[in-house]
Symmetry: C2
Subunit: 147 residues, 2 copies
């Protein structure tokens, strides 16, 4: 599976006329290994000690991945740093727990419903929907109920 991922990246890069390099593989692997929603700083920490890629390369690589549709950037709520994740083809949105800080994906039909609503009634050509819900997750609610 690791092999599959790597091959996929290589092909995508070559297909777009970019070179396959160590730093790019390293950032890609770190991004996949992360549970999603990592900052560039976290990826850098993961990748610089072993000398796989410099901080500047991490930023440059992430920008490239975004452009190629491989990664997705988002600023959840009022967070200071941008967060990165592997681009998912499926409709999803983010649930941010204000208590424990956990960020969950929530897959559902909501995003496509929003899409349909805007395309139909309002003639707005939707390119991207970013839905971030802040609140208290089920686990934290349970902890509060039974202290």
């Amino acid at each position: 599976m690791t092999t599959n991922e790597r091959v996929d990246l290589d092909e995508r890069l070559r297909a777009a006329g970019y070179r396959v390099t160590g730093p790019r593989r390293a950032v890609w692997n770190a991004l996949r290994a992360a549970s999603g929603h990592v900052t560039a700083e976290q990826l850098t920490a993961q990748v610089t000690p072993s000398g796989q890629a410099d901080q500047a390369s991490v930023y440059r690589t992430l920008a490239l991945f975004e452009q190629l549709g491989l990664a997705r950037q988002s600023r959840l709520g009022d967070a200071d740093a941008a967060r990165w994740e592997v681009a998912h083809p499926d409709e999803h949105f983010h649930l941010v727990c204000a208590n424990c800080g956990d960020i969950d994906h929530h897959v559902g039909s909501l995003v496509s419903r929003i899409r349909d609503h805007l395309e139909g009634d309002h003639r707005f050509e939707v390119r991207d929907v970013e839905l971030v819900v802040t609140g208290i997750c089920a686990r934290c609610r349970d902890d509060e109920d039974t202290p």
Copy 2:
């Protein structure tokens, strides 16, 4: 109406134990005058030349307004700077046009439907919903169709 707004701010500040000052009024007025979704920098530009408030005060004041529920901060898409608007009590979300840069409010039942969905099925206590849709607005689509 300008009087009403000012009185409202004054009361809100006093009720929370804060002082009514020139800079706070100036930032509030600039925020109301703006069509929404202004950056702190834009507000500063509006307010510093006439010596009504310093940049640092703009930031401090906006943070205070947010805490009092008078203003709302959001980072639309991958924008670098945060954008501010007067807090609306009604359910709404943002439509960002990738072509002309226009940001529209869209008022509708979608946000409350998202809320209900999560509260009901998933026991997630919703505190805030931020929905940002990026795409091409109706006007820009028309311009492309009829060049």
